[in-house]
Amino acid sequence: MALFILRRVGVMALTALCLTFVVFFLTNLAPNLEKLAKTQGNARMSDAEVISWLDRNGYGGPLVVRYGEWLGVVPGWLREDPINGEWRGRCITRGQNPEGAPRYCGLLQGDLGYSTVSAAEVSSIIGGRLQLTGILMFWAFAVMVPSALLVGVLAGMREGSRTDRTLSTLSIATTATPEYVSGVIFIVLLASSQVGLSPLLVEWGWLEGGTLFFGSARSAMDNVTFWNFTLPVMTIALYGMGYIARMTRASMAEVMTAQYIRTARLKGVSFRNIVLKHALRNALIAPFTVIMLQFPWLLTGVVIVETLFNYNGFGWTLVQAASNNDIELLLACSIVAVLVVLVTQLISDIGYVFLNPRIRIS
């Protein structure tokens, strides 16, 4: 088991290394660097000025060397300004003497670099944003998983029944409704003072002006309430729910045809007890894997929802970093994203082994 985990972690590290290099490569293509120079320096720079700007700010060296610097295996760049003799470098703040500064400052040293757009250390930005997204994910899972399991179990316990058909079709419908569609529909129905439910409620005197739910989750960053967080959470939960429910249904339906369930039924155990005591536990093994694998899948949803509802979490940061070519922030985002994908894969593998006694890893 230890060897298995060790090998998986090794592959993970290799994957993360390759992926960050790809991100690094794409963000450091010549046109992207030119864009960076012009946004950071001056929009009217000539080509020669762009090259000198890039050189002065440490983007001049070969790609692999700069990747090494970011990784922390190559010493950070250091240049003396020819005009005023000031030292500039990756590891030093402006004007600082290079002697006192560390030679390496990259990922391995725990330094994620500097965000050019926000003018702040990446590590100071990404932590808070992750926390915000964590809250959103927590609530999304808290809504999605129990309801999906319930729907799946109800549908799967009597395969082919009318309940099964209705719930299955509903599950399919939710998987066919991407976040940007459901979010839009939710806002129209519940968070508009002009159309949908809110004007009706105001008319009936059940609501004093304004809207029932809020179409913006900005205030949820400070203070989560039922009214400002329901729509983003529902939008994320709805799309993921159908998939988990269908997996649960399939697993439940399979378990219900198993020999031991048939035996129990023949013994006269009540249907309720069969479902609750015998079938449920075994039926939930497969959905566990699916739920874990939902994490990375939800990332796209988080990006859409955070953009739609103006919630400045990780997904929003990713969009900002990508659209502004904020290289080091984007790299940090991709590390986080890749880690989420790989760690959840690992957990789902290990968890599957633990939950399912039939599988043994030698």
Binding site: K35, A43, V117, A119, A120, G215, S216
Partner: protein, 545 residues
């Protein structure tokens, strides 16, 4: 200098002349105020010259205390001289202040300056520093601070210092620094500015957002790094792209009145729909700007509307360095095909007045009225075919935002109506702004300037930095020089008429409309009116008593 006892009633021979012109109906009130206050009259004095009560002096007095949340982009800060968005100025205005403030009615009033006088031909300005102002680090604010800032503004070697262009003749063209003897500290509270040529735009320049006054020892730094300023507030929290929060500085005695205890700028991105959703969710109290359909929407949910007519517009311009736009007939055909009233309707939601394909707005004092533009789609196509470009495919590039994008979509639709082939391309801001001067055919948003000549100098003179049309016309340049030297608006108007005509004849750019700008705020917010240059003056803001 006129010898009067009370400086506020100090008057100026030229100002008295303007007052006569105003009374004779030759000058609009707005223009009168711009010009007379730029010469050093206080707004009150200017109003009294023309026998009116000053409207601006009657700003309501809000209650002390309270918190206000303002929707506005929160950008990374830098050396104020290099500010390139109004938002930069707004977010630091509570901390670092300006010498002069441009008011909504077009007049100027003193902030860190108590007053200023210009000599008769506007070549010498005497600036009187407000006494009793201190920096929040305890130092006194003196003429040395003012002079140091002027010197710094004139430094053309600083990358992105846009103040140098506003200082005009004060910059020595050879050294790229301030002219010797141009900035004289007379005493602790007086600074004299000596210009080689008359310049009526110096005071407007001092009121612009990059002209924030920094401590004399801290010039060239980011105000966020040290927090030293003369303003009533201090920055508590600054997160780019998210929010900026400032609170009343308890360790500092502010020279003026500031009402609010706390001000938060909330960045909700560039999508007005998101602003509206956040407004409905009660997440802020005042918008930076309200655009398009959202003007009616905000009003519909009970917010107060404030508007101001400006010379702001969107220029849909061909760049003459690129074929086929180097052919004047092609440009004329494009202009002839586009019905500007439709562009106003679709691009601006009808909020503004129709433009005339030249960049001088009717509210500019020197505006000359020309015959109306003719739209003839059939003739336009015939003209294009005659020029041999009947099958040309025009690619119209724009920014991916509401205003310029819809304006370009509307222009493209008009051209298609005339039988031309148009492809539209939209680019994200980060890509668009890197290349905005060089696109063969694209659109640019231009803000309001106080005088008509200012914008012609900035964007249409041969070879100037922001000349996005690549327009180059010797006659135009010469006439523009001439116009710059004429103080009297009526005399200037004759030259302007020809300048405007040249722009139309050469089909330089489509100027579809003059925008009205809107701002909304919750009932109970005081002094939050829209400003022609998008300024938010936090020291006036407050909540009603």
């Amino acid at each position: 200098m006129p010898s009067t006892t009370t400086p506020h009633l100090a008057t100026h021979p030229a100002a008295e002349m303007y007052a006569r012109e105003y009374k004779a109906g030759q000058l609009s009130r707005r223009e009168f105020l711009v010009r007379s206050t730029a010469l050093g009259l206080s707004a009150a004095a200017a109003y009294s010259l023309i026998g009116l009560k000053p409207a601006i002096a009657q700003r309501a007095t809000p209650a002390m205390g309270g918190r206000l949340r303002i929707q506005q982009g929160v950008l990374a800060l830098k050396d104020p001289r290099t500010y390139d968005w109004s938002e930069h100025g707004n977010v630091t205005r509570g901390l670092i202040e300006y010498l002069v403030e441009y008011n909504r009615d077009g007049s100027f009033s003193g902030m860190l300056l108590e007053g200023w006088e210009a000599n008769e031909d506007a070549t010498q300005y005497t600036l009187r520093v407000r006494p009793g102002v201190t920096w929040n680090n305890g130092d006194a604010f003196t003429a040395e601070d003012v002079a140091a800032n002027f010197t710094a503004w004139c430094d053309t070697t600083v990358e992105g210092n846009s103040m140098a262009a506003r200082m005009g003749g004060l910059v020595d063209a050879d050294s790229g620094q301030a002219r010797d003897g141009g900035i004289v500290v007379v005493d602790d509270l007086t600074v004299q500015i000596n210009l080689p040529t008359p310049d009526i735009t110096l005071v407007p320049g001092m009121a612009d957002y990059p002209a924030a006054i920094m401590h004399r020892d801290l010039i060239g730094t980011n105000p966020l790094d040290h927090g030293v300023g003369t303003g009533a507030y201090r920055m508590v929290d600054y997160q780019v792209g998210i929010s900026a929060r400032m609170e009343r500085n308890p360790d500092h005695t502010y020279w003026g009145e500031a009402y609010l205890d706390e001000i938060t700028f909330i960045d909700l991105g560039t999508d007005p729909a998101a602003w509206f959703a956040a407004a409905e969710a009660g997440e802020f109290d005042m918008t930076y700007q309200t655009v398009g359909e959202f003007v009616d929407l905000f009003s519909a949910v009970g917010w107060e509307r404030s508007d101001v007519t400006t010379g702001a517009t969107v220029c849909v311009r061909p760049n003459q360095l690129n074929a086929p736009y180097d052919n004047v007939e092609v440009r004329r055909a494009i202009l002839e095909a586009v019905d500007l009233s439709v562009v106003l309707e679709l691009g601006m939601n009808g909020q503004g007045t129709v433009g005339e394909n030249h960049h001088v707005c009717p509210i500019h004092p020197e505006y000359a009225e020309l015959p109306a533009q003719v739209v003839d789609k059939a003739a336009a196509l015939a003209r294009l075919q005659a020029a041999g470009h009947g099958d040309a495919n025009f690619t119209l590039v724009s920014l991916d935002d509401g205003l310029t994008r819809f304006t370009c979509d509307a222009v493209a639709a008009q051209m298609r109506d005339a039988g031309m082939t148009v492809t539209r391309e939209v680019l994200p801001g980060s890509t668009f702004w890197n290349d905005w001067l060089n696109f063969p055919f694209s659109a640019t948003e231009w803000n309001h300037r106080e005088l008509g000549v200012q914008i012609l100098n900035l964007a249409y003179r041969s070879g100037v930095a922001w000349n996005e049309t690549a327009f180059s016309n010797a006659e135009f340049d010469q006439l523009l020089d001439e116009a710059n030297g004429i103080q009297d608006a009526d005399a200037r108007r004759e030259v302007m008429a020809r300048l405007q005509q040249i722009m139309q004849e050469d089909a330089v750019t489509i100027v579809p409309y003059w925008r009205s700008l809107f701002r909304h705020y919750r009932p109970g917010v005081v002094n939050a009116d829209m400003h022609p240059k998008f300024e938010i003056n936090v020291h006036h803001l407050g909540l009603s008593a």
